[in-house]
């Protein structure tokens, strides 16, 4: 018996029992967080991130010179909970990996957010990673899309991101940490309505012949994610509309009951 974990067995099942193209469970919670304008807790399998969006608002004093006269700037900050990863390690604000992650997210959203509507202002995206089991960047991007949408910031399109990899010749979707460590992986962020990709990131080597397969599958998976995310947003907006319509009347009824 080899000491390595068998990533795909003879029946084409992965180490956690999924089929190659099967995604992990997604749960989206729009519970408010403090004073944020838009917030979401997004869990994808065992990866869990909290994103809150503030703005667009006037830049903080001291960072005002970083704003542009014709568009809003995006400010992305990523923090990692020390207890969320297997080996506890404190990563400060200056940690290179987190800064890189933040820069990637920022450049992903810059063409998607309609920043020209808010000149000289800032939109803050604060990301807190609570648990990590692979697919960190896709989870951050999907959650940020949802949080921006709940904050009412105009977007050209959704960004739906997913990681993909290849084991042997078999393309895989939505890798866990174990799989990420072993197989070459690609992160693809698609804009599902226009069908364009706003992010393709690959840090490992992958054979050219295989890339197209993974890329196609990942683009399709992006569309699947889109339907999930859209449904969640629709439900929330529906709730808000219901409350808006029922609002004052409900309060009046409650008061009469109490008196």
């Amino acid at each position: 018996m080899s000491s390595r974990v068998e990533l795909i067995n003879a029946g084409l099942l992965r180490s956690d029992g999924r089929r190659p193209y099967e995604l992990r469970t997604i749960s989206i919670n729009f519970g408010a967080q403090g004073t944020a304008d838009g917030s979401v807790t997004y869990s994808h399998g065992l990866t869990q991130v909290r994103v809150s969006v503030q703005g667009p608002h006037e830049a903080k004093p001291g960072t005002r010179r970083e704003t542009f006269h014709d568009r809003a700037t995006l400010n992305v900050e990523v923090q990692l909970a020390p207890f969320g990863v297997g080996e506890r390690r404190r990563r400060g604000r200056g940690d290179k990996r987190l800064l890189e992650l933040a820069a990637t997210i920022k450049s992903t959203f810059e063409p998607v957010v309609q920043t020209h509507l808010y000149p000289r202002s800032t939109i803050d995206i604060f990301i807190h990673v609570l648990q990590l089991d692979g697919g960190l960047l896709p989870a951050c991007i999907n959650a940020s899309t949802l949080a921006l949408a709940t904050a009412g910031i105009p977007l050209f399109d959704f960004v739906c991101a997913i990681s993909g990899g290849v084991h042997g010749t078999q393309p895989l979707l939505d890798l866990t940490t174990v799989e990420e460590n072993d197989v070459p992986s690609v992160v693809v962020g698609v804009m599902p309505r226009t069908g364009r990709a706003t992010l393709v990131q690959m840090e490992t080597r992958l054979h050219m012949d295989r890339f197209e397969d993974v890329f196609r599958v990942a683009c399709d998976a992006g569309k699947v994610l889109w339907s999930e995310m859209r449904d969640a947003l629709r439900e929330r907006t529906g709730d808000l509309v219901d409350k808006l319509e029922a609002g004052p009347g409900m309060v009046a009824v409650k008061e009469t009951e109490e008196t």
Partner: protein, 337 residues
């Protein structure tokens, strides 16, 4: 943390000092907002809890929210910072969401202040749990308690200490078994024969009268067992914090951000109430720009003890409820499924 104008400050102060005292949300001076607690929220940590104070029921926003999690790691005693018998290290980090107006550097300062208060109280050797020791003099557990402030709507220290106490209450220390390596008698004689050395065999055999026993435990292993381990020893002893907000003539509890900004002085008291013993004051801090005197502090300590006991009792009840919910009730639900 909120900055408010002089007029707002005067408004808040005068309404607190009026008779009867008035607060913006209609509470009395010593009333708390609603507190919610949930433990076991981080499956990778050894113990965790989430506490929120005063979130509104409709959407769960607008209150103070704090998450604490304890994680254990093995540490060698002697080299580096390891201490015989284990140690507890606390840290507080603030999400920028909680303090959107602060610059990153100011945020660092703030979390450093909070860390020092928490660490000074909880990592004190007198409340160190006994079962953090693995092999005396060689290996011990290092307990990292990480607290994250997700949003602050006032009374942050009470929330941090409540979350910390709940997380430590929830912490399970994995069971360990000491192991010792010893060559078999027969192996050893074989080896000496094979090497054909002139070794005095009797030298290995100790005197029959020698009852001294040198226990040389070399290492430990984690036995495979169905549960996560045993709770920390003396988990009742972790203190609760109570913040008394002081105006010259009166004090009040559980201040909102506006109220915090309009009082010159806060007194934090850390109490633990062990059964039937006299309450233990684990520490106190005077925060703010104002001054106080011994007589006032003395009477405040007495009042603080009274309020802290209520907080303690409520928290104790809730923690036992959570234990029940996560163990017994979960098991019943599993069986009746």
């Amino acid at each position: 943390m909120a900055s408010i104008s002089k007029a707002e400050k005067a408004y808040v102060q005068s309404s607190l000092l009026s008779n009867p005292p008035l607060r913006a949300d209609g509470r009395g001076l010593i009333d708390f907002r609603t507190i919610a607690l949930e433990s076991g929220i981080a499956p990778i940590a050894n113990g965790s809890a989430r506490v929120s104070i005063g979130t509104n029921a409709q959407d769960g926003g607008g209150g103070t929210e704090v998450v604490a999690a304890a994680k254990l790691e093995v540490e060698s005693v002697g080299d580096g910072e390891g201490v015989d018998g284990g140690r507890v290290v606390c840290s507080v980090s603030c999400s920028p969401t909680a303090y959107p107006l602060l610059s990153p550097n100011a945020l660092d300062d703030l979390q450093h202040d909070m860390t020092s208060v928490l660490n000074a109280t909880l990592s004190h050797p007198t409340i160190r749990p006994k079962n953090l020791c693995i092999l005396p003099g060689r290996k011990s557990w290092l307990l990292n308690l990480d607290v994250i402030v997700f949003s602050d709507a006032g009374n942050i220290f009470d929330a941090i200490f409540m979350a910390a106490r709940a997380a430590l209450w929830d912490t399970k220390v994995p069971r360990t078994k000491s192991v010792q390596y010893r060559a078999k008698k027969s192996d050893r004689s074989d080896a000496t024969q094979a090497m054909d050395m002139d070794v005095d065999e009797t030298a290995h055999v100790g005197s029959a009268l020698d009852t001294r026993q040198t226990i040389e435990v070399a290492d430990f292993e984690l036995p495979d067992y169905w549960d996560e381990g045993e709770p920390l020893n003396g988990r009742q002893a972790w203190p609760v914090c109570l913040t008394l907000n002081l105006l010259p003539a009166l004090h009040f509890l559980d201040a909102t951000l506006q109220e915090e900004a309009s009082v010159p002085l806060k007194l934090l008291v850390f109490y633990s109430f062990l059964s039937d013993a006299t309450p233990l004051l684990r520490g106190m801090r005077l925060l703010g720009t104002g001054v106080s005197d011994l007589v006032q502090v003395n009477s405040l300590l007495k009042d603080g003890e009274k309020y802290a006991r209520n907080v303690w009792l409520a928290l104790e009840g809730k923690l036992k409820d959570e234990d029940l919910r996560r163990n017994q009730k979960a098991r019943e639900r599993f069986l009746n499924r």
